[in-house]
Amino acid sequence: MPATDPNPGQDPRSFAGETTISLRRAGSAVVLTAQGEFDAVSTPGLRTSIREAVEDGPEVLVIDLTAVEFFGSGAIATLVDAHLRAAEQTSLRLAVEHYLDRTLKLVGLDQQLATYPSVEEALAAG
């Protein structure tokens, strides 16, 4: 490891590699919030959490990704997996910040996945 951080002013959270996944109910909806960096190390935990949330079969499942700091191709694939598993049973909605929204558009997934700029807007959507 390098002895000096070339950019000590940077928010250390951005590089800690820590992730948090939490669930909460909001009426008939469930909100799964994923925070942190989702690369090949952390994505399996995200995939399991999302699968379990989908298998519970809520009317609406909002996946809150507004606080992710890295989202690799494996993590993107978990969203496609969730979309396929949710099928007709659950309305799957994603809350995404600008960068992830742009990435999903670039790979052409904005046609399949319903994205909103905030959890509130995702919950309010019909």
């Binding site: 390098p2 951080d5 070339p6 950019n7 940077q10 951005s14 590089f15 590699g17 690369d39 090949a40 190390v41 995939r47 890295f70 989202f71 690799g72 191709s73 494996g74 993107i76 694939a77 978990t78 496609v80 997996d81 960068y99 742009r102 990435t103 670039l106 790979v107």
Partner: protein, 142 residues
């Protein structure tokens, strides 16, 4: 205001990292690269694009370059030259070892590399694979 086509004085014009080509280790390479890019103050989306595309090249190497259980390295080189950033990811294996448990959710990595970079080339030889990705830096900071 930065000079046209550049971000201003390079902080460290080149970063070279050699790491074991393993999943946990390439995360550390990603963190080093992200710090290096951020120190050059490029447009916000470009930090994400470079980190993501480079990571996909790194993880491809970790998952496919070497037989399961065999040690091998991956080298990352990041260069900031006037008007461009170039990232090179090199391994010394072959991308013909499928992971022990094939994951149907993979497969977008190479697509991301091509979509996110201005130019991407993948050169495979008998002694390894090199992925070279280039981003052009525009004078208007986009």
């Amino acid at each position: 205001m930065a000079p046209a086509g550049d971000f201003g004085a390079p902080v460290t014009p080149e970063l070279r990292v050699t790491s074991p080509a393993r999943t946990g280790d390439v995360t550390k390479v990603r963190h080093k690269l992200t710090r290096w890019i951020a120190a050059h103050h490029p447009p916000a989306d470009l930090v994400g694009d470079i980190a993501l595309a480079a990571y996909e090249a790194l993880i491809n190497t970790a998952e496919h370059a070497y037989p399961a259980g065999a040690a091998g390295d991956v080298e990352l080189r990041a260069q900031h030259q006037p008007g461009l950033i170039r990232i090179t990811v090199t391994d010394f294996g072959r991308w013909d070892h499928p992971p022990a448990a094939p994951d149907p959710s993979r497969g977008r990595g190479l697509a991301l590399i091509r979509i996110l970079s201005d130019d991407a080339t993948i050169v495979r030889t008998g002694s390894g694979t090199t992925v070279t990705m280039t981003w052009r830096l525009h004078p208007d900071g986009t």
